[in-house]
Amino acid sequence: MKNWIEAFSVIDFISVGILLTAVAMNAFRRLESCVRTYTVNSWLLSSLIAIVAFMIGETHLYIAAALTLVTKGILLPVFLRRIVKQMKVTHDVEPYINNALSLTISGILVAVVYASLSVGIFVSGFSKNVLQISIAVILIGLFIMITRRKAITQVIGLLFMENGLFLAGFSLTFGMPTIIELGVLFDMLMGVIILGIFAIQIKRVFTSSDLDKLTILKG
């Protein structure tokens, strides 16, 4: 089994998949597809942790993988989907930058990360490219937050950043102590619930979920 994972470079495939879902997020305008992309990203993240746990035989990593799967893979997507349904908005209609350009820019971001991290950093982790991929995912999440107008897509951008951070921490330290991970995940869950409620309130008060409208004074 371990040889099989090595031979088919499963870890490489999953980490490239994580990068790919983050990049693909730039191409989607339908909010449902955005949520689904995030779900796939989280599942890949949790399966990566599970496989690394299997490879090095650490039991506490299995717990981390299960926690990731439950919170990021199931609870958050269900919650996000419910918000999308309540807001009655289906598309992020007018992003600041069009699809093709934002895809290209995210590709360039990945290139910049690879170029700047290819020398001078020694990573003692399980794969030499996971740190690069995780930092690229963080930057792409930031980029999504900058270029999207809707509150909900910005929240998804933030979640991508968090997935990237989690992966970065994981690739450097093989996972933090379970209690810290529990705390981070709980924080995340609460944060997203509050942000979701904010998004619904913005929609109710301004009759639009477009964050540009927040600069208009109400009197």
Binding site: A7, F8, S9, D12, F13, V16, L19, L20, V23, A24, A27, N98, N99, A100, L101, L103, T104, S106, G107, V110, A111, Y114, S118, K128, N129, Q132
Partner: protein
Amino acid sequence: MEYLQFIIIIIFSPLIQGLIKKLKANMQGRVGPGVLQPYYDLIRLLRKDMVVSRVTSWIFKATPYIVFASTVSAAMIIPIITTRSSFGMMGDVIAVIYLFAAGRFFMALAGLDAGTAFGGEGSSREMTVSILVEPMMMLSIFTAAISAGSTNVARIAETQNLFYSPPHILALSAFVVAVVAETGRIPVDNPDTHLELTMIHEGMLLEYSGRYLALMEWAHYMKQMLLFTLAADIFFPIGIDSGGAPALIAASFGIYLCKMFLMACAMALIESARVKLRFFQLPSLLGGAFVLAFLSLLTYIMIGK
């Protein structure tokens, strides 16, 4: 033997076209024309008289021959059933891509030459698509070329290993989009009709008739089969012969036909499952595929396999 393998492309390319049409018809619950229909069409067109507009220049008359000749020269460079390819030592994959580009350049000029609205429309669209497709195709091939250490298609075909790595999969998916766009198939262009305002390839050929039309169509079929062959050589070269023993070449020929059949199935499946995109939505599809190709190169450099 290896000097004659390009004849396979010339002879079998209409068959592949007929096969895709037949498979597509079957998938959509129609009977469809027979597999040999493109041959009958070509023979019929070759026998017919031509109508050439009085306002056209020499470009209109020269283009069918240029397009046909450039496609056949590309066929001579690509290894088809044996990697000891006909004139492979003289050219490589970059030459193949630019031979296609030369044909496309003259085709676009000929579309403009007659001065009809549809011809100009087709030419302008074809050039727009090709601007997006060409670099993407180059990048996805370069991923394989770097891992083989050569841009010669024969060397790439010989050195590919069986175990696929992420860069290969990414490059392959970008290449599939490139093939769909280059052959004018459904998410990009509709090959079945020349009665649509959205046509790209057919728009440029609208003024052609008789022998010229036959040559242009034939060249298009050959280009399609060549792109399939290129995909087979670069991404799944399993079974391609490199020695030159007659028995092995025969086996390689059988495997080659199987690969072509599988790719025809894949094309028919893509065409049946997708809808044609609006022209202004194409940049996001092709841009996405470009980013895939770009990432494949990057991940290749990172993972290094």
